[in-house]
Symmetry: none
Subunit: 209 residues, 4 copies
DNA sequence: CATGAATGAGTCTTCATTCAT
DNA sequence: AATGAATGAAGACTCATTCAT
């Protein structure tokens, strides 16, 4: 689980290429060439292309679960504040690791990499369970509605962010923001996305207008 | 654009396999074997694997735009009714063509198949434009809010449906519906998804509680 | 089981090379180069290097069992005549297919190619059973001794021929026959080997001096 | 010619693996792993895989020639007794070093390792010469026949033992001795093999019935 | 003295595509 | 119009060996 510099270099190169071309669309030679290392080194360090993918997953996923869990336990926050923080946390994570996120989408689409698919599912399951608990808490406190479909709610958050991330260029074109520097655009997009999802969640979670 | 029986047979086999294993994860020999045709026939009919993918796209996409456009022009419907119909239409289309939808997701994820990516984007652009017009109409009529981010709204619809479709099994597990026959489950899921998105859209479009 | 010309060409090339360098010591590229065909053709025709080996086995082994069986059923021959014919038959077969014989020795030595090893064993088993029957018949007729270890007897025949075949050069050197043309030498060797083994067998089978 | 403990450990591991999988079927990494040493150590100690094989040969062959020679010079034994001792010596050596024997068979089969093949031949040559002398002595003393093909005789001994060793399992099956513990079976097999070959040799060497 | 890190050459196999028929 | 035969290029991976430490 702890990789040396050269391993991390390979993993990060693989991350970029897998995101750009897909797992099957990327050859180990591609990765080796871009990373500036010998082809044999990938097998040497990771055993196989598949295992390299798993290493990438291990490196990137690591702390997700625990961060969500600690968030939930914070008693100084109201249920809605917690939900809003969950949203921002998710947006941040996806935006910061766009490549990795694209790869995970790809994993979900194809049935390949079963080991990773399973691991990714486990992350989703535990996250959803924690969120469900959080919502139950809000319901107990009377601030959330009675009937809430947690999975669909999560799907909306995850799906909206994914979709937005994948079609950034289109968002830019459609809203005539092509002049804006990318950095600024991303900040803007993040803010809007955050507000958008929070609005949606408020509507399905609370009784307020 | 008009394919003979054998061509359609090949395209539909390709659709299933591309959805299951991804474009790069599927070999033309796989397709030929499953479709029960000669390997050379794929090159013969479509020129290349890439072109076969484009043919699949042409066959499946065809009528989307026109259906949305006619929907919009129907003066007997209120703006909100139109939006709701748009939602149901989208859910139906995705659910009916799950395989194709998965493939399109894959196309968006990887940068491969630029021709198709462009075509898919065109569909999204024109659909969004039509929807934007529809919303403007609603705003003119005073039933919709002033400030509406159409693209994010569309992303929510598309993203929620995609995400839900991709993780059906998880939805089933989490809601303890494993005993339900698949057909019944899909009907249930569709109804819930429809209500869910309509609720979301109502919240961001109208001023009603 | 019936191969076309090109397949036979490949099989025979493989036979020579496997015999010269061993199975693992021969690359498919070697075979393809020597046979003057494309490397891919070996996988194309046989599926794999392993399967090529099996094809070689099928091609060469084919009729062994049946020939021995028909020999045994010939009522015009005395038991000892049958044994002698068996010896000559074996010597002829090994000498004619020296390469194949070397390969089979290699298969027995290493535990690789389990499928072929099993098939080869089956040939040995059924041959031994037939010979055992033949010997029982000789015993019933009173021309053979009571106590005969059929397996050791067969091992002597097979082992002596193998050993002689593998060390032909040494035989030649030791007996100062280096001047003899190879063809003539082989005829001589065969004759001597035949007499040698027949003498041995007579000693363990019969009571004659 | 004198190896330290670690070298012997490597050599003996190589012996086992070469016997099991053949020279080309065994990688230096396999050897290193099983021997519990570093991969580089094999090149470091022996220079190459090939040279390791030669070291194995040197370690195992060493004393063969001398033992046969001293046997021959023992004047207290009759020629036939000497031959019989030669047989038992050979059986013992092969049975005790089955692995090494298998490897030597493999070396004879393939043309690889020319250095070893030559060395192995030298052993055979000198042994045969010594035996030939011994037989000449027996002929002089009038106890052996005039015309004896020493090489074929040696081939019978070597070949029968090899063949029997390689197909132990078959011998066991065919003679319904599967229940017997392996140790006991080997003792039995050795005794029978000894008697078998002595009988054969007596028949070709002497005039007795 | 001994070894972990590294690699170029090589392994077998699969690929999409072509072409003569 | 349709296809069996064929292939060059590329795929992932393993090899024995080297070298700085």
């Amino acid at each position: 689980m702890d990789f040396n510099d050269k391993q991390i270099q390979i993993i990060e190169t693989a991350e970029t290429l897998f995101a750009e071309r897909g797992f099957d669309g990327t050859s180990v030679r591609d990765i080796a060439d871009v990373a500036g290392v010998n082809v044999a080194m990938i097998s040497y360090y990771f055993g196989s292309k598949e295992k390299l993918m798993e290493a990438l997953f291990d490196l990137r996923v690591g702390s997700v679960k625990s961060r969500v869990e600690t968030l939930i336990k914070d008693d100084s926050l109201s249920p809605l504040e917690k939900v809003n923080m969950l949203i921002d946390e998710h947006i941040d994570r996806v935006m910061q690791k766009q490549c990795f996120h694209k790869i995970m989408l790809g994993v979900q689409v194809t049935n390949k990499n079963p080991a990773i698919l399973k691991a990714a599912n486990n992350v989703k399951i535990s996250t959803t369970e924690v969120v469900a608990e959080m919502i139950k808490d809000g319901q107990k406190k009377g601030v959330f509605k009675k009937k809430i479909d947690v999975v669909l709610m999560m799907n909306t958050m995850i799906g909206t962010v994914s979709q937005t991330m994948m079609s950034q260029l289109f968002y830019r074109e459609f809203n005539n923001q092509e002049g804006l520097p990318n950095e600024e655009f991303l900040v803007l997009l993040k803010r809007r996305l955050s507000i958008h999802i929070k609005t949606l969640f408020k509507a399905i979670l609370t009784n307020e207008a």
